[in-house]
Point group: C2
């Protein structure tokens, strides 16, 4: 753990902005078996309280309530007891509480919800619940978000939901999702930070998150973990995702590009450089970044995805960005970056590109064909222009290619389209994919989404999916950066 | 509500004495399905906390625990889900909690327990629980309790358990039971106060409780309720038990007898007098106290008990005590009390005594024969001497008499024995009855107990019984008052 970086991060702990949401629910008189649903009117993250009082006679025993917090309306009908997924069931937002006395009851834990269901398990008498209040918290100041005129209704709605998604993930750190995991991930941070530069402009929060990662303990190969915890104690994560480690470097470059804060860039550059050195050490004899023991790559939650080509693309993408920044700063490492970039690019074309099929498939990835590989080769600059367009379209349209399943990966598809000059196609793609979530009445965008497959989950059970997930917030970045109206 | 009396009560809010109990349990490494039992070594009332930490890897999801608080070892094996009793199930001391982070976790509610069972419902990783602590609270200062030499082992043990019972029921008020009901009842107060005068001597707490009752709202017949709540708000109870209303007067007389505090007696006398006047109005044409609509009597939890004779006995007992105190204070009402006492006694012998059987049975009670009727006629002074002894023995030994089922009623059996001069028999009776609970490893005495019937409950399910119930604490009163060794 790097104490210097950690103290820098601690010093930037953000102030949480609190807003008390009082839903339009009158007081309710309840008895055993009764069930009420409180609609907050939008998705929020925070703390729930209510008042309990008696009706005819004092309630002379604790009242036992089952309280369920739902991010979407559909969850209201879910039976959490039937959960069969791989992730820990206690992420499901449900509580059994015993309320001892009349008066105000404040539930101590933080929840992410639009709907709150309360079911009366036991009570000796009728009672009244009232004064429902949800104290919403965020480190995103909505008053700082510009309101550009977006003529297209669908884009305007997508932008609104994306901003809301980011807002609810902005807490002490950029969380991945406020319902589940609730922690800082490098890959998520990169996308949240991008959207932040065009919306909330809480650049201090980005800086804090960069310092937090720089403070983590690298593994024996030199890579920082893909995630970390910082509350109540600072703990390095235990999953070493090489693409995420590289995206930390990308995030630092993005930060410099959007803030011009040279001092912070240089302060953190040693941490970034350590990741580039670790990557350079993992480049194999053919010049391709390989995945050593104890390391992994993420890329997407697409089942059975082979990640070698895409990971190498992330490496190229990172080298490219970093080389540009270092050159601008006249930093001595710029040349080395360019050198590595060129040789890694040459190796990619030689070893990751199938000449006969003219596709990015390789025995290294079991000859698997995927949108992911194509996108990252384009973003890595291995192909461009018309060739790049052809390769991207082929991958997207081919029946036998693996397709993205998360808004996270879809972001990079769109980024590739913009890189190839396909601005209009990018916005159509964005409208189709994120718009399909809006059609499902999304108040925030989801962690994983395949149109037409409402039960898809990376975890074996849809109930555990996070329905407000930061990596899905980048429509606001694209819409605002490229002034798409 | 009488604001003057209430303010007097509020002013006497006791300081709670806190003692942190740290059970001899090492830290435990746990995973899904694991179950541990923490033995506090004795019965306590208070607040439970522990620390949670990770073992190999940070615990990256909330940990869901089922926590069960048991007053006795037997409860550990009880399945609360199978509860079928009449009282509200949420009195059962169980919680499902979600612990978000490593660190200290303080459960917010108060429990009464010797044993705490923790079962792991879900966790993503192994974790450690440690630093188990139970912050016990009581308004009974054990350092104020004398330790008389009691040579008899059994009596010494009974005294110890009785003092413990009283201690754990002494909170903001004299509670009936710290697990269930947790409130102030007149009948319970009378016995707790008696034991208090010979042990903790927290006479301020007695005074506070007397004032609280004097502040309650009487019903349309003029009787104060049998119980009240005072935290977080003062609320009069809704069950009007005439014997309990009279025992409030008895408690005030006891208070004066044990403290000599004439000022408080006279301050509260108007409230006491209002109960005597209400009772006088309920005396029927034959001179017997009857139960008007909207009123009730308690006497004991004995099923199907008819309570007319016993209630009249309580009336006589109260008149007798009050007349004595008023006479001593040269109060003008003394004479009226004596007059009422004599006429009520005459009426009792005439209408509640069956001359042929020479028993206290009456068509008013459906000719039901019970120990309760006999005891209260003796305590009311309707019979005494050898005749009283014969009547008591007949009721106790007869196969067709109803017998007491609570330590509360057994107290009055013993009080009657002492009144009849049967000190030795009283102590044998006490040793047999309370000793049988000690044989069941009682740390505190129970709410209801019939030797040989371990499943007896007044509420349809033993699981809801209170196993630390104040009205069972009077062995200490008898042992210490009569110096039984």
């Amino acid at each position: 753990m790097n104490e210097y970086y950690l103290q820098k991060a601690v010093a930037e702990l953000p102030r949480l902005i609190e807003t008390t949401v009082t839903p339009a629910v009158e007081s309710k008189t309840l008895f055993r078996g009764d069930r009420i649903i409180i609609d907050l009117g939008d998705h929020y993250v925070g703390y729930f309280s209510f008042r309990m009082n008696w009706v005819d006679l004092y309630v002379d025993a604790p009242v036992r309530l089952y309280v369920k917090f739902c991010e979407t309306k559909r969850e209201l009908e879910d039976d959490f007891a039937a959960y069969q997924g791989r992730l820990c069931a206690s992420w499901l937002q449900e509580e059994v509480i015993n309320v001892d006395f009349p008066g105000e009851y404040r539930m101590p834990r933080r929840y992410a919800a639009r709907y709150i269901e309360i079911t009366v398990k036991s009570t000796p008498k009728r009672f009244v619940l009232s004064d429902f209040a949800f104290r919403a918290v965020t480190s995103g100041d909505v008053s700082a978000v510009a309101s550009p005129v977006i003529a297209n209704d669908r884009l305007r709605e997508i932008d609104r939901v994306a901003v809301n998604t980011l807002k609810n993930c902005m807490q002490r750190v950029f969380e991945d999702g406020p319902k589940r995991d609730r922690r800082l991930w490098t890959g998520d941070l990169r996308l949240e930070a991008l959207a932040n530069y065009y919306t909330f402009r809480n650049d201090g929060l980005v800086r804090r998150c960069l310092y937090l990662f720089a403070a983590t303990e690298p593994n024996d190969k030199g890579f920082f973990p893909g995630f970390l915890y910082e509350d109540p104690v600072f703990v390095s994560g235990s999953w070493y995702l090489m693409d995420y480690a590289l995206l930390l470097v990308v995030s630092l470059c993005d930060y410099y590009r959007h803030t011009g804060d040279r001092e912070t860039f240089l302060d953190l550059y040693p941490a970034a450089k350590s990741q580039m050195e670790a990557a350079a050490r993992a480049v194999d004899g053919e010049g391709i970044l390989s995945i050593p023991n104890g390391c992994d790559a993420f890329i997407d939650w697409c089942p059975d995805l082979r990640k070698g080509i895409a990971l190498h693309g992330v490496y190229l993408y990172t080298l490219d960005l970093l080389a540009g920044v270092l050159q601008e700063l006249s930093h001595a490492d710029a040349e080395m970056c360019f050198t590595r970039l060129e040789s890694a690019k040459t190796a990619a074309f030689e070893h990751l590109h199938n000449k006969e099929e003219n596709r990015f498939v390789s025995p290294r990835d079991g000859d698997q064909y995927s949108v992911h590989s194509a996108v990252w080769m384009i973003l890595g600059g291995v192909v461009d222009g018309k060739e790049g367009v052809r390769i991207l379209h082929d991958a997207l349209k081919s029946a036998d290619s693996l397709k993205p399943v998360t808004p996270y990966m879809h972001h990079y598809v769109i980024e590739a389209m913009f890189k190839l000059g396909l601005a209009e196609e990018a916005m159509d793609y964005l409208r189709d994919y994120w718009g399909a979530m809006v059609d499902l009445s999304a108040d925030t965008f989801f962690e994983a989404f395949i149109p037409g497959q409402p039960d898809f989950s990376p975890y074996g059970d849809r109930m555990i999916n996070s329905m407000c997930h930061a990596w899905s917030c980048t429509p606001s970045y694209f819409i605002r950066r490229y002034a798409c109206r």
